[in-house]
Point group: C2
């Protein structure tokens, strides 16, 4: 007997969802997803800065720029990247089908794809999936859509926040996929943030930008993105509040909720890093500039030697300090302090871990902990969330063909 776990449906006023399986994934799992708003939603987005962009990303950038989006059509199992004109035509055709069936303009439909790259999308199959999905669109279809966007994800990533705005109850819900090593990350990140609040485009953009440094930009470094990465934020106004502006009384609470739910979702993606066993927060403070703080945090978060040390539970600071040293940040090594959680392992440039080795080792053995470096060179800071580099990561990625 198959036990079915019932998940409470996630409802966002005026949004309907669907997922369908059409054989793009060999597993037979859902590989098409639809997100449809009853009315055109105010839209802002962030897309990969990779020079090689997947076909749907080219179209998405153009359509989100216009500011209004009513539907998102996603396929998994094929990234439609590196597929030339044929790929562009296929992505356009997916949106045209959705638009026609919904009776809306194609320019209101944004496409996304994720999966294998360099292979033409089997369009007829995707169209069949889209038709199936359209038939099952429902306010309760959130988890079906979520399954439709997943690829190598070990678990679904989603989040919900509810808050009062202007006396109305407003919902913010996130559907996300992505399961890669932190950076360089080529595992596609797809993130759809949906709210029934009425929000001006300026306020929406500001809230998204404010939320990124401590969420998706802390795990996916600009310039290290995949060909398909997309973060889309849609506000359809169906909650009935007066349109939220940056100066509105409720704006800070709204922006905080966006930041919270994005950060939580980003952490889920790090935790689902391929083969990952650890989530290490890298905090750098006392840098001369924010850019230099980021460089130090990035150098550590990317270093194979630091990441294998996280995997091994090594409480020593040598690799961390070495990465900080080659990061390009200006600091005096003789003033550097390093902590694991609240235990100092380097004090004024001298490794002192031996005195606290048992405590430090216990921290380094945890599934989550924080490494803090204080450069004592200024007041700027940065953070990164890093997964470890494991034997399973290598096994997985040397078996998986791109």
């Amino acid at each position: 007997m198959k036990v079915q776990v019932r998940r409470a449906p996630i409802l966002v006023e005026g949004f309907r969802f669907a997922g369908a399986a059409c054989g793009l994934k060999e597993s037979g799992k859902r590989d098409v997803a639809l997100i449809v708003s009853d009315v055109p939603a105010t839209a802002v987005g962030v897309f990969t800065t990779n020079r090689v962009k997947a076909a749907p990303v080219h179209i998405g950038i153009e359509r989100v720029r216009a500011g209004r989006v009513q539907a998102v059509v996603v396929n998994s199992g094929n990234a439609n990247a590196f597929t030339g004109r044929q790929g562009l035509a296929a992505a356009r055709s997916m949106t045209a089908l959705v638009a026609k069936q919904l009776g809306i303009a194609a320019r209101l439909v944004v496409p996304s794809s994720t999966g294998r790259i360099g292979v033409q999308l089997p369009l007829a199959r995707a169209q069949r999936g889209i038709r199936d999905a359209l038939r099952t669109l429902s306010p309760a279809g959130f988890h079906d859509a979520l399954e439709g966007i997943m690829t190598t994800d070990a678990f679904a990533k989603f989040g919900v926040e509810r808050l009062p705005i202007d006396g109305r109850s407003v919902t913010i819900a996130v559907l996300a996929k992505g399961a890669g090593m932190i950076a360089p990350n080529m595992a596609t990140l797809l993130v759809y943030v949906l709210t029934d609040a009425a929000v001006s485009r300026t306020a929406l953009r500001r809230a998204l930008r404010a939320a990124l440094p401590a969420s998706f930009n802390a795990i996916v470094v600009d310039g290290d993105m995949s060909t398909n990465d997309t973060v889309l934020l849609l506000a359809n106004g169906c909650a009935g509040n007066r349109t939220l502006q940056p100066a509105s009384r409720d704006y800070p609470a709204f922006a905080a909720a966006i930041a919270r739910v994005l950060r939580a979702t980003a952490r889920m993606i790090v935790k689902d890093g391929e083969g990952a066993t650890k989530l290490v927060d890298i905090v750098v403070r006392g840098a001369k500039t924010a850019r230099e703080a980021t460089r130090v945090a990035d150098a550590i978060a990317r270093s194979p030697l630091c990441k294998t040390a996280f995997f091994g539970g090594d409480p020593y600071a040598g690799r961390l300090v070495c990465a900080a040293g080659y990061s390009g940040a200006r600091f005096d090594p003789d003033r550097l302090d390093v902590w694991l959680d609240d235990v100092a392992i380097v004090r004024r440039g001298v490794e002192v871990v031996r005195a606290v080795e048992r405590r430090a080792s216990r921290i380094a053995a945890q599934p989550e902990y924080t490494v803090t470096l204080d450069l004592h060179a200024g007041t700027a800071s940065a953070m990164r969330m890093a997964s470890d580099l494991t034997v399973d990561y290598v096994r997985f990625n040397s078996d998986y063909r791109t």
Copy 2:
């Protein structure tokens, strides 16, 4: 019965060598090395640009700047890095002991250390080792010294070139250690290039600078160096030729020999990459600028996804193209060509590997092959030598404590 493999001694006129074991390595193998010239040699060097420099590096930079070096004293098993004032005093004391025993000025002695970082050097032990080594100094001690500088190396790296200069037979010999992943590389690189030719400092510096881009700078990227990396070039003039100048007739042959022996040694270090099973040459051409060509080659050589694909023998271009895309180099993805050796797998931006899959797979299964990208955006080029990222790399580095 222990079988002793006899190696022909490598002789360089006017140089003596020694190695000794003093217990810095737990294995009991040689962990001290001496290189001594009969007369002060003309010296040039390149040192780590890491902001955190080991104690001996600080001293070495200062002494090589003066232009004359007569002896090098090396210990392995302890990097004397991240050891503060005590470390500096220990490094100075090593050179003082050598200088005193040889009856030369301490400023003519350069120290090097490699091994575990963040641990104070057991000085008394090192001094005992140095005294032992001094007693066995011999023109035939090359391989003993080589053993004394090794750490995690699976095999010794060395090379010899002989050529006529000004009617005299001249020798160039290299002793090197290093066994790390390419970049970021924190496994210390120590390279000593010795020649009995008489060479002006300008000619020596020029030959070293010309040789680096296709040798050690192709595997150790500036800014990704360890705290201890050192490349030292000594010319003692004992071959009796008239001092070689950049304008000399024999200079090009000398510079070519330096380039050849450094390149061969650098390849040995990549082949001995921790856990490495492959050496992949990454060639990028058709870039707008040399810097952009380098960025593309670096992005590929560092990408964990590309490196695990090398390990897995994946002939597909997706990860290569994606890394090129986020490298920051300007190019039109629709003009990109990619080859594995002489087999095109991407033509004008379209993946064509399926048509040649068997041949491409055979190449990708080889222990050595070349990946070439032509960006068709300009005339600049760059190359990198990359090892693969393997299960054994992660095992080794998660077990090894820094």
